[in-house]
Symmetry: C2
Subunit: 427 residues, 2 copies
């Protein structure tokens, strides 16, 4: 095999015919496969089934004696605050546990900033002529849609192997209408990248023109390593400690959840932040609901009493996920690398592999896959306003499909990627 | 016994001494009792324990085949939409099931109106110089605090035996800045009153100056009857049908939950509204979370498959609650009625008895109870801004305390009520 760029036009035309024939075969297979979302597969969900039996007869009291079936316990269970404190590396006093969705807690946090201002004394963002957020790309489509709903102008910043381009961010925050940044700092969705210590330090240290600048730190994959060996794991520096060091402790709002630890639709989540931010959040949330679901908090606290229990549980998750990631990576290495028509980063955790196709071909690749019965995340979804300026990034989510389905997708994918590249070169 | 108003000054002074002596005895008892919140008691919670075993091994699929442990099913389970549709008397297509808190769904609905406008085309309420809501009083303190947080100016309207004063409401809605009304229309919190058919009809029919006027219809007690006999139950007319009849189908947003059917902290809730309202809510909520907790929805749907199952379950709840309500009512009848120092309505459902003390004495009664170790809802809490202009209404929540505790409270309460009245008359 040689690089596609070295093909003659005649060779490209011949190759296109071969690829089209191969592609037709896939179309005839009548596939109905979905790799569009980062959902756990059945075997992963099975791992947490014992949790359902942990709050039965006479077992519904929290360690502080709260009857978890009843109202009360607005601040969540002490055991849950402790657990999330361990996972996020912050004192449990800074943790505020929520319901089944960290996205919802993020939405609420942004909503509070718009309605009331991030802290007392700040102008509600809804009263400002414009609000801008820094959005490292590729990023999480749900974050971008949330920003879009709020009318936040999104400023894309490219993500490199160490995280977002900090020079650019330090420039952008000189604009007082830049009020925040939203990101997945570890095993990023979909970049797979973990922010380096330097990036975290600079985010904490930088001077922002907006005194109420907020980083939405969606640490969704904080314990989602694919490998057990320390040297094969990414490590994320503690941004809250860094912010405190620079006197910016109100800058960061941290979020995480057990959605990809226990049940994706029925986990628990938490926010952690400075005492002032937490107090203001609680002021509003206090009348927003009586309490979050403490029964589900209790199930989780019993199933995962501490970080060590989470580590052991996540090794079982990794044992299911790792072969899938490696399968994708091996196929890309085998089929795409020699052609030099795409790039990717082999993530050491998280839920996604981001494939950077030959510029101008991502949409076509996703279309080809779709027309052969394989749904991928729409091209562009990882960018604000659904526009990837290079039309290059494709998010591959290998978790949900069983291995035999993933194999079928990964037979098709290189064909689609190469066909799109050949079409592009011939056009 | 004679009316207190017929006492001479000397008799009042003597009576005061007797009451003070009696009150001192209560203080010496070292009580620690709490009747402040409408929480179910332990025996009520026990009724729903079998629910916890209904989603175990191999039982986590919804009737449509959704794996309730995973992401997906944003619109909630079909069986839950059907159940809430039955309870609220609307087609299941209008129902949007949520998480464990209808308050949170109400907060979200108001938040959407402020951030985006109630429907596309309307000005977001946050952009308006003022937003006013009609608040029937006495009402639910949580509602009023939510309105206060949003900066909504609250306009109190007195509740009579048929519901709020409709003449007054029809006047108020001529002001275009009056954007809504928030209420508990059945077995009201704390009035105990159910809106009459005429009130419902007039609310649906009235012309409002604001085209985006919304009624937050918090039907928290829609199946919470204390009696089995039809003639001892209140009946609430279907406001959605009435609104439709008058071409105002977008006017009402209905909410309910199982908080006082199953577990107060771990139930499920739902919103029901017109197709346009539902579509707009779903547009925003779609990126606010991936899905609500479907495992808890599934538990509920299996435990309470239809309205009949709910009815049978609520009879068991009523069997626990009814004797407590009757105890309170009997004591009031025996101790207060002859003195003519207070009024109350004997509710036929819900969670509260509202005691209307001699004007100017409610705060003092609550203080006397507190200083004898009995916590009641603060006087004034049932009014916007915590101000009851008559200082008269006291919310009695008999559900949470076991009967022996309720008995102790109801020994104290008439003493406190009479003492406060005597003090007032002597002052």
């Amino acid at each position: 095999m040689k690089k596609l760029s070295e093909y003659t036009k005649a060779e490209l035309i011949q190759r296109k015919e071969e690829l089209q024939a191969a592609y037709c075969e896939f179309q005839n297979r009548n596939l109905h496969l979905d790799l569009s979302r980062g959902k756990p597969e059945k075997r992963q969900l099975e791992l947490s089934m014992p949790m359902l039996d942990l709050v039965g007869k006479d077992e519904w009291y929290s360690e502080e004696g709260l009857d978890c079936r009843n109202y009360g316990g607005f601040e969540g269970l002490a055991e849950v605050r402790r657990l999330f404190g361990e996972l996020l590396g912050v004192p449990e006093e800074l943790v505020f546990p929520g319901g089944n969705s960290s996205l919802s807690m993020i939405h609420d946090a942004i909503s509070r900033a718009f309605l009331f201002g991030p802290l007392p004394g700040f102008t509600p963002w809804s009263k400002l002529p414009e609000v801008k957020f820094i959005c490292p790309v590729p990023g999480y489509d749900w974050h971008f849609h949330t920003c879009e709903d709020f009318g936040i102008e999104m400023l894309s910043v490219e993500t490199g192997e160490n995280g977002p381009d900090m020079d650019q961010i330090e420039e952008l925050v000189k604009d007082p209408s830049v009020k925040g940044m939203i990101c997945v700092p570890m095993y990023g969705n979909p970049s797979g990248v973990t922010y380096s210590d330097e990036v975290v330090e600079r985010l904490a240290a930088m001077k922002t023109a907006a005194p109420d600048f907020r980083i939405i730190w969606d640490n969704a994959y904080c314990v989602h390593h694919l490998y057990e060996e320390e040297e094969k794991r990414d490590h994320l520096a503690n941004i809250y400690e860094a912010c405190r060091k620079y006197g910016h402790e109100d800058r960061v709002l941290m979020f995480t959840s057990t959605s990809k630890i226990t049940f994706a639709g029925a986990g628990i989540c938490a926010m952690a932040c400075s005492p002032a931010n937490r107090k203001e959040a609680m002021r509003v949330i206090f009348y927003q609901l009586v309490c979050y679901d403490k029964m589900n908090q209790l199930r989780h606290a019993r199933f995962l009493p501490d970080k060590n229990a989470v580590e052991l549980h996540m090794r079982k998750q990794a044992a299911i996920l790792r072969p899938k990631f490696e399968r994708v990576e091996n196929i890309l290495e085998e089929k795409i690398r020699p052609l030099e028509i795409g790039e990717w980063h082999n993530p050491r955790g998280g839920y996604f592999i981001c494939y950077y196709a030959m510029p101008g071909t991502a949409k076509r690749i996703v279309q080809l896959c779709r027309e052969a019965g394989v749904t991928l995340t729409p091209a562009g979804a990882a960018y604000p306003y659904d526009v990837d300026p290079k039309d290059s990034a494709i998010r591959i989510a290998p978790s949900y499909a069983p291995m035999e389905e993933l194999n079928q997708v990964m037979e098709l994918f290189p064909v689609a990627a190469e066909l799109a590249a050949v079409e592009r070169m011939l056009s």
